[in-house]
């Protein structure tokens, strides 16, 4: 009876919350395949203690690869260790968060195993003995593709926030060790020099459950402080339209849209953004959209669940104040 695995990605030394979201999908696959259990894979250096945290989330088995060669995430060493583990233990599926790391690792693993990979999925549709059917956005979110993965092991990455987190009854997990045998010549091909941690502790845009974003209507980089403040009250990430990025007001990494990030938060608050087709492509699958724009004809109002016609420089500070009061 084969297992279904979850890749337990770490951030700042802790397991990301997306692990609990993947757990639901993993359980569904195990149940329908009559498989053994869900196991989490934990990789890094000195990470063994985090197994308990996975247990508390209801995961009964944790496979740990703990080695200095895994201290920094690097594509090849991680993919090599994971590929060896998959070949030895034959899980029927491995689920990843559709994070930058999850997507990089799963793609290289797919190459090593010649296994199918569906990235950025939003739903698990069907489970069969040797196939999975999932839904993923294509054409920058303008369409959705239902795709089928077949073969002895299927790899899927799910977007954060789209699967409901499950909290199983906490247990003390069974911990097993994965062998780490990385060719030193391969490990030496990529060396991490420096992390520019400008965003340490900040909420990553593609994983945030709330995003506050600003466009050309923000008028200048200094005014994004208004959005940062609202974001800190809501524990949100700050995004931007291409107009704001191209003007040099925000880093390219914060661009949402067709040539930026595709996001799927529970709530997206668009301030001074008109709602172009390219921008909407990236944020159209937000569960709720709020638009704050002074132009009542702005296209963003056609898709917004809640719209305020007004000057963002007046509305946003009031919104921050009201949210702070309500959430206090």
């Amino acid at each position: 009876m084969s297992q279904v695995w979850i890749y337990a990605e770490l951030k700042d030394g802790a397991v990301k919350k997306v692990a609990s979201e993947l757990l639901g999908a993993a359980r569904a696959i195990v149940e329908q395949r009559g498989g053994a259990e869900v196991a989490a894979v934990l990789m890094g250096e000195g990470v063994g203690a985090l197994a308990e945290d996975l247990g508390r989330r209801g995961i009964g088995a944790v496979l740990v690869a703990d080695d200095p060669v895994l201290r920094d995430y690097r594509t090849e060493p991680y993919a090599a260790v994971l590929a060896d583990a998959v070949k030895a233990r034959k899980p029927s599926a491995v689920l990843f968060p559709a994070s930058l790391q999850g997507k990089d690792l799963s793609a290289r693993l797919a190459g090593k195993l010649s296994a199918p990979l569906a990235t950025d999925c939003m739903a698990l549709d069907e489970v069969a003995a040797d196939s999975l059917t999932v839904t993923r956005p294509v054409y920058s979110g303008k369409a959705r593709a239902k795709v089928r993965l077949t073969g002895p092991v299927q790899l899927v990455s799910f977007r954060p926030n789209v699967l409901p987190p499950v909290e199983g009854a906490g247990t003390t997990p069974r911990v097993e060790t994965l062998p780490v045998a990385v060719d030193p010549a391969v490990a030496a091909r990529v060396v991490v020099k420096e992390r520019l941690e400008e965003a340490r502790g900040k909420v990553e845009l593609t994983e945030a459950s709330i995003i506050v974003s600003g466009g050309r209507g923000m008028r200048g980089p200094e005014n994004f402080a208004l959005l940062e403040e609202l974001a800190s009250v809501l524990h949100a990430a700050v995004g931007a339209s291409r107009a704001a990025v191209d003007a040099g007001w925000r880093d390219h990494a914060s661009q949402v849209g067709q040539t930026g990030k595709t996001v799927s938060p529970n709530l997206s608050i668009a301030c001074g953004i008109s709602g172009s087709i390219q921008h909407m492509a990236g944020m159209g699958s937000s569960k709720y959209i709020v638009a704050i724009n002074k132009d009542p004809e702005a296209p963003i109002f056609k898709v917004a669940d809640y719209g305020i016609v007004g000057d963002l420089f007046e509305v946003v500070p009031k919104l921050t104040e009201a949210a702070r009061k309500a959430l206090a």
Binding site: Q101, A107, G111, A115, K146, E194, H252, Y306, V315, L319
Partner: protein, 263 residues
């Protein structure tokens, strides 16, 4: 410095996507095509490196006849030559198949670097770069925003996006790098270059020439297959919240808490 750039022709970003009857493709009538935007970053970076170090920039695509336009566009930006894998039996496969075909097309080229886009904006797979690196047995770095080649041409210092920030890594060459927005500003082809590009060589190859088996790397061998394409239900315009800024803000917070339950 010889550089291979993989590029894909995709419907342009203005395209309104409609699903064709049968649900397995989009309506193609009237669609304009372009080089996938991330691949333009890759071409631009290759040209800048050639300007610095000399060498050749070779474009590669797997695509139908009309994908030649995408290659001509890249040639008119300034690339030297192109390889067009044009074979009906190889179209419609999965990313593993595409990577195997691209690997076969470039493996006998003398190159120091392979550049791809982070993703192609049609299928949004975001995996062909890493798959290609694996097929070629090379290291890869994803989401590159800055690239410096060491004087000896054997290593590169690369800045790339990681969770919540950026990271600088050193990578041994040859390597496969996937290009991200922020790397550069792609140039527009000049008129003289557009004219010159018409005469630049494009090698056309099929499965036999590449020594690949279409039953494995083509649609028949695909392990990831499309079942159905749909467009998301159109969003409806919701509530307008009126009142002065303070009242509107308070109403919005209440609705977000009580009705939407998202804060």
């Amino acid at each position: 410095m010889n550089i291979v750039v993989c590029l894909k022709q995709v419907p342009d970003t203005e395209t309104k996507i409609r699903v064709a009857p049968g649900g397995l493709d989009i309506v193609r009538d009237g669609v304009n095509y372009q080089v996938s935007p991330y691949d333009e970053f890759a071409i631009e970076e290759a040209l800048r490196l050639r300007e610095k170090f000399g060498g050749q920039v070779t474009l590669v695509t797997l695509g139908p006849q009309k994908a030649e336009d995408a290659l001509r566009f890249g040639l008119s930006m300034g690339a030297d030559r192109a390889i067009h894998v044009k074979d009906e039996t190889l179209l419609g496969g999965d990313p593993l198949g595409a990577a195997a075909v691209l690997a076969a097309a470039v493996k006998d080229e003398a190159f120091d670097l392979v550049l791809t886009g982070k993703l192609a904006i049609d299928d949004y797979q975001e995996q062909v770069g890493a798959l290609l690196a694996e097929r070629l047995g090379l290291p890869s770095v994803s989401l590159v925003t800055k690239l410096e080649i060491a004087a000896d041409g054997k290593r590169a210092t690369v800045t790339h996006d990681v969770e919540g920030g950026r990271e600088v890594v050193e990578v041994a060459l040859p390597a496969v790098l996937t290009c991200q927005k922020g790397l550069n500003e792609p140039r527009y082809p000049s008129l003289p270059n557009i004219m010159k590009a018409k005469k630049k060589p494009i090698d056309v190859k099929d499965a036999a020439a590449l020594g690949v088996d279409a039953a494995v790397v083509g649609p028949g061998g695909a392990r990831l297959t499309l079942v159905e394409l749909s467009t998301p239900p159109p969003r409806q315009a919701g509530k307008r919240i009126d009142g002065d800024p303070a009242t509107a803000a308070a109403t919005l917070v209440r609705l977000l808490r009580e009705e939407a339950k998202v804060i």
